[in-house]
């Protein structure tokens, strides 16, 4: 089967994809915040509130793992929670994106993958505008080194890749099974507990710890914490670990999406 569609001349598919991504992301962000640019900071509300709750309930119990400082616990919980929140929000939005644009896909020929990709990108924009500056400031203050703030871009890249791969898989599965969100909710809940987000990795029994740290999100969180909170120079082995895991997830996600894509249109 071949399909040669010579669309408007001089316009490559890549440019069309980029233009589409741009308008979809713009549309998404505008829809969320009704024009108020301060709106992106609302995305901080959820992790901030959760940090307060965890600090109030668990802060004293775990403080001994953080040099007996509740502030250190708060910072560790916050870095974990923003990462987890980004992952959970962007992937569950990406999950629904293909199906919710089903009627559109039946009327105009569009590259399907642009819909989950636009959801991840919109969330990334939010993260870069609201959360990243906070993390960068924390990194500079604690380490006194600008390299640490710049190095944050690597775990952020890893986080984006993991979320993109997962978003692709979920959006493809949701086309076939409309009760996937229910299962995914449980999975995300499990991930929230199973990843050292609000507790130190040291409390996990040693036999189980390697499995916990196999999770790419745990590696990303570890890397972000090392860069922002340890005060040392960025640990390259943590960065590489985070990037490696995320690249694998992203490639698997794309392969899964690509192989199922041709069946989508019959079910939308």
């Amino acid at each position: 089967m071949s399909l040669s569609l010579k669309n408007t001349p001089n316009r490559s598919q890549l440019q069309r994809y980029w233009e589409l991504l741009y308008v979809l992301v713009e549309n998404n962000l505008k829809g969320r915040y009704r024009g108020s640019f301060l709106g992106v900071f609302w995305s901080l509300l959820n992790p901030l509130m959760m940090t307060v709750i965890y600090a109030a309930v668990l802060g004293t119990a775990f403080a001994s793992y953080y040099d007996n400082s509740i502030v250190n616990y708060i910072l560790a919980a916050f870095t974990g929670l923003v990462t987890m929140h980004f992952f959970a929000a962007s992937t569950s939005q990406a999950m629904r994106s293909v199906v919710s644009n089903g009627s559109l896909l039946n009327k105009i020929s569009l590259p399907i993958s642009v819909f989950p990709a636009s959801m991840i990108t919109a969330n990334l924009f939010q993260f870069v505008m609201a959360t990243l500056p906070l993390l960068a400031i924390m990194a500079v203050i604690i380490s006194g080194n600008v390299i640490n703030s710049l190095a944050l871009l690597f775990p952020l890249l890893a986080l984006t890749l993991v979320s993109t791969g997962t978003g692709f898989i979920l959006s493809a599965l949701y086309v076939f099974f409309r009760d996937i969100p229910y299962f995914y909710e449980v999975a995300v809940y499990g991930l929230r507990i199973g990843t050292p987000v609000f507790y130190p990795a040291d409390v996990v029994p040693e036999k189980i710890r390697p499995f916990v740290l196999l999770n790419p999100l745990a590696q990303i969180i570890e890397s972000i914490r090392q860069i922002t909170l340890s005060g040392d120079l960025p640990d390259l082995s943590l960065i590489w670990g985070a990037l490696l895991g995320s690249v694998i997830v992203c490639i698997l996600g794309w392969l899964c999406f690509k192989n199922l894509r041709h069946q989508f249109m019959d079910l939308l």
């Binding site: 669309n7 589409l20 308008v23 979809l24 549309n27 039946n106 105009i108 076939f176 299962f183």
Partner: protein, 244 residues
């Protein structure tokens, strides 16, 4: 010069009715060994078609004969199971206007969004906002959200965006009556202009009179097969004979 060439197109589609969208159920039936391979239905059956640049083609046939599916294959929305599609030039689909509009967004924003989906650049669309608003007679609503428009206004907006630039190939799926009497006349004039120029036009309609009046070539589809292709009057005649 040819505009569209279809070589031996066949398309099998999964029927949605018997498909379970439920993961729990699918898993259970799989474990119980009741899983069946999804049955597929032949929607288009070995279609060969050549359409030259500037031809106006009317596609007729009863409901479910595959007319709209054929247009979807030509627009690139559906990919054929076997066979190849060659399309030369850009296509403007006018399939159920207003599908790409986002109700919560302003009219101006929607013009850009819809235009980019149709394959134009943002820059071009920004330049065209004025002429589109003018044609749709919605200048006063430029910054109002689309949900504040009446359904007729929405249809006018969709029509104005899709036809603002002359496409090489125009696809019409029963959408020639848009808005009130006055706008209908206006949209008819715009489409007639396409007819006069070198635009290739494909129309699906049950209005046989319209097809006979406006198209040179007629294609009669029945159960996914081309039963007749050629002179429009003959095509209509064959179709009517078969029905009676």
């Amino acid at each position: 010069m040819e505009a569209i060439r279809l070589n031996g197109i066949s398309l099998w589609r999964r029927t949605q009715e018997e498909f379970s969208y439920d993961f729990k159920k699918s898993l259970l039936s799989f474990l119980e060994g009741k899983y069946r391979k999804p049955t597929k239905k032949l929607v288009l059956d070995r279609i060969n078609l050549n359409i030259e640049v500037g031809e106006t083609v009317g596609i007729i046939g009863s409901n479910g004969s595959g007319k709209s599916t054929l247009l979807k294959v030509i627009s690139g929305i559906l990919q054929p199971t076997i066979g190849s599609v060659h399309v030369y030039g850009n296509i403007a689909p006018l399939i159920e206007l207003g599908a790409g509009l986002d109700p919560a967004m302003s009219v101006t924003h929607n013009i850009i969004l819809y235009g980019v989906m149709l394959g134009f650049l943002r820059k071009e669309m920004i330049e065209r906002i004025q002429s589109i608003l003018e044609f749709a007679e919605l200048e006063e609503y430029a910054f109002a959200p689309v949900k504040a428009l009446s359904s007729g206004m929405k249809a006018r907006l969709g029509f104005a965006i899709a036809t603002d630039v002359r496409p090489d190939i125009l696809i019409l799926d029963e959408v020639l009556s848009v808005g009130d009497v006055r706008f209908k006349k206006k949209s008819r004039t715009r489409i007639e202009k396409f007819w006069d120029t070198n635009t290739t036009i494909l129309v699906v309609s049950h209005d046989l009179k319209f097809i006979q009046q406006w198209c040179q070539k007629g294609i009669w589809l029945d159960k996914g097969q081309i039963k007749f292709s050629g002179n429009v009057d003959e095509a209509v005649e064959h179709y009517l004979n078969a029905v009676e």
